[in-house]
């Protein structure tokens, strides 16, 4: 059964490691819906969170192929556990002064924030799972989105890992 998988990959923070990992996905015909990278809890190691789709066999191959990379230290399929997944988006939306209260209403219901006000635009910052960001985007579309930038998903397993 094809479904979405969120994989966490702990890697050596070496030049080229992102290229190795993303190249492997492309070459082997695995798709990447989103990929984020940043420092991890340990110095010298980075954590990548990759969202991909495929059946269980694909996931198994993804993980085995990742382990073949010398710079890959640990691969965990987060989505097989209860997890928190979050994405951040900045949305610059057309906002003539007259219409601002209306937009503010939308932003508040989503517990998003206005992080910049221009002469006729607002920048909205929203954090949440990808569906929430999709929904926010849909609601802001009628006002005219001038620019949209999403970070991609970062995630971790809830509570303690045994």
């Amino acid at each position: 059964m094809t479904r979405k998988h969120t994989i966490s990959v702990l890697v050596n923070n070496q030049p080229g490691v992102l290229q190795r990992v993303s190249g492997l996905f492309g070459r082997r015909g695995f798709n990447i819906e989103s990929i984020t990278v940043g420092e991890s809890e340990e110095k010298g190691l980075s954590r990548m969170i990759i969202v991909t789709t495929g059946d269980d066999n694909t996931l198994e191959q993804v993980s085995k192929q990742l382990y073949k990379l010398v710079d890959v230290i640990k691969v965990v399929d987060l989505s097989s556990n209860p997890m928190v997944a979050r994405e951040l988006a900045l949305i610059k939306v057309n906002a003539e002064p007259g219409i601002r209260p209306e937009i503010l209403g939308v932003v508040e219901t989503f517990r998003a924030a206005i992080v910049d006000i221009g002469p006729n635009t607002l920048v909205v910052q929203v954090v949440g799972d990808s569906e929430k960001i999709d929904a926010m985007t849909e609601l802001l579309k009628p006002y005219g989105i001038k620019e949209l930038s999403r970070t991609g998903v970062t995630a971790m397993i809830r509570g303690m890992v045994k």
């Binding site: 890697v11 050596n12 030049p15 080229g16 290229q19 190795r20 190249g23 492997l24 070459r27 066999n57 198994e60 191959q61 085995k64 192929q65 382990y67 073949k68 990379l69 010398v70 710079d71 890959v72 230290i73």
Partner: protein, 579 residues
């Protein structure tokens, strides 16, 4: 020969090398390679490796063979590695030197050959500026190396070399690239050579899970129609002896893949030949009728399985033994995965192995072997390529090291040469690289100065690295170079005849050189034959002549390789040919 016996004892040399002097990156490289017991490096100089070549000047401990093309160097290093099991090493300069290695790196990667590939690069200060002869070789080769390094600090160099040798030669073997910028090769630091390697993300599983081995043995005890498909992993793990013992204890018939040839003696009753596209009737029918399939160090390549969803349809279970976990379940669904070093796994299995209920099945397979042998229609007027291979087999008695290029001659050699020993068969299986056959023989001969090395090539592939004739002549490397000349790109011709309806498109090799004169131009003896009698005579002359000899056999152009399974068919749907 190139490799002279060293004057100094190994201990003396190592003691000298390990001195903690402050030296350049280039000197570190040479010392490290000597400490890894590398006895010959194949290479080609250029601007970015001039410090390294300068350090070689006058260094009598260090052997380097200058080829005429970087592709020749890397295939030679590959032949050296395949014939010895040691790590092969080659050196090239940045940019064009490095990119000329790409085909050879991919060849070694596909066939799991341990290589350490050293390239120079432009100075760290200009990397990324499109400097003269700059190429991002680590980027270019990422998909075809097991791992790679771009050295940024001379202090890291010895550790990196140590790691590179370790990674190349352990677990599933493969090529590792070390890219050394020019300034790093000239920078100095105190030399140290680490004793151990500790790489956090790299721990190949060598010891199998015992429960899985037991499950395999249970499955064998229950099965009535078991078959083993043994691949290159048998050879690379030096597990031939263990395989023979396993087969004899369990009474399971064996088929060896192209790269597995020699991993199991072809004279053995339980050997069925090679499987797949040009496999034997017995091997392919055994696979299609088995109830238990055991893959050992074989990766179920599509040239073996052909149409995958009709492959081994009656197998109730598939067992897969491999050191690379990613191979298990990649192509065929596996009921019993055994991850580990093939030799270790078989040693463990041999402690408890018992016969399967296979006697009737063995009889059936032996009937197939007898009733459907490999065969061809011999001729008294034309020389047949199969005849030439049989003749080489008769005269060398399976004791030579044989390398081939890629094409029909490769398949005929795989079919008609009878391999008795592992590491005596060298061919590009995974990538199918034309131009590989001849230079890989040079590497094998350098590693085995006292053995007979025969390199069998097509007239097409011979022209892809023929410049290395110079190396044989000048260094007196006594490879016997065979050119099976059918005047066409034979394998392509065969496909165009059988699959593209006789539409022969661009396969005519008219304009090829006179191979005898080509050899002579380089100072290598050349001989030619186009009938059986001459063939026997000139081949004997070649064997009796010390030093390199090129022998051209002019053969029938229209000859095809049979049996053949065409794309989209299952392996028992075989075209048996015109014998």
């Amino acid at each position: 020969m190139i490799v002279q016996t060293k004057q100094k004892s190994k201990e003396q040399l190592h003691e000298e090398l390990l001195k903690p002097d402050t030296i350049t990156g280039s000197e570190m490289l040479l010392r490290s390679l000597l400490l890894e017991d590398v006895d010959c490096v194949f290479g080609y100089p250029g601007g970015a490796v001039l410090y390294i070549y300068d350090a070689m000047h006058g260094n009598s401990d260090f052997n380097h063979l200058l080829t005429r093309h970087e592709q020749g160097a890397i295939h030679a290093a590959d032949g050296y590695a395949r014939s010895t099991g040691k790590v092969g090493v080659c050196i090239a300069t940045s940019g064009p030197g490095a990119t000329n290695l790409v085909t050879g790196i991919a060849t070694a990667y596909m066939d799991s050959v341990p290589l350490v590939v050293i390239t120079g690069n432009v100075a760290t200060t200009v990397i990324g500026t499109d400097a003269f002869q700059e190429a991002d070789i680590t980027g270019i080769t990422m998909p075809i190396t097991k791992h790679s390094y771009l050295v940024r600090d001379v202090k890291d160099l010895p550790r990196i070399i140590k790691e590179a040798f370790h990674i190349a030669s352990t677990g599933r073997k493969g090529p590792v690239l070390i890219d050394i910028p020019k300034d790093v090769s000239n920078d100095t630091a105190a030399f140290y050579y680490p004793e151990n390697v500790e790489i956090r993300g790299y721990h190949p599983t060598l010891h199998p899970n015992k429960l899985q081995v037991d499950r395999m043995l249970e499955a064998i005890a229950e099965s009535e129609r078991p078959v083993i498909i043994a691949g290159g992993g048998i050879v690379y793990a030096d597990a031939s002896k263990e395989l023979i013992e396993f087969v004899e204890k369990t009474r399971i018939p064996v088929t060896t893949t192209l790269l597995g040839l020699g991993g199991f003696p072809s004279a053995h009753d339980l050997w069925l030949g090679m499987p797949g596209m040009h496999g034997t009737y017995a091997a392919n029918h055994a696979l299609q009728n088995c109830d238990l399939l055991i893959g050992i160090g074989a990766r179920f390549d599509d040239r073996v399985t052909m149409k995958v969803n009709g492959f081994a349809p009656k197998a109730k279970k598939i067992v897969h033994i491999d050191v690379d976990p990613a191979e298990i379940g990649k192509i065929v669904e596996t009921a019993i995965p055994v991850v580990g070093d093939v030799k270790t796994v078989l040693q463990l299995a041999n402690l408890k192995a018992k016969p399967s209920k296979s006697e009737q099945w063995i009889g059936w397979n032996q009937e197939n072997k007898k009733n459907f042998p490999l065969s061809y229609q011999d001729s008294d007027t034309e020389l047949k390529p199969q005849y030439v291979i049989e003749m080489i087999n008769d005269t060398t008695k399976g004791e030579a090291i044989v390398t081939t290029d890629v094409g029909q001659h490769q398949m005929w050699t795989a079919q008609y040469y009878k391999f008795n020993h592992p590491r005596s068969w060298i061919t590009s299986g995974g990538l199918g690289t034309m131009g590989f056959g001849f230079p890989s023989a040079i590497g094998a001969q350098v590693a085995h100065p006292d053995r007979l090395v025969v390199s069998i090539n097509g007239d097409g592939g011979m022209q892809m690295c023929s410049q290395e004739l110079a190396i044989c002549a000048i260094n007196k490397i006594p490879v016997k170079i065979v050119v099976i000349n059918n005047q066409v790109l034979g394998m392509v011709r065969q496909w165009q005849e059988l699959i593209y309806d006789n539409r022969y498109s661009h396969i005519d090799l008219a304009g090829s050189p006179d191979f005898v004169k080509l050899a002579e131009a380089y100072g290598v003896k050349g001989l030619r034959a186009s009938n059986k009698e001459d063939a026997r005579r000139v081949w004997q002359e070649a064997l009796d002549t010390p030093g390199p000899v090129l022998v051209e056999f002019v053969v029938r152009k229209e000859e095809n390789v049979f049996p053949m399974v065409t794309q989209g068919s299952t392996i028992d749907q075989m075209i048996m040919g015109d014998s």
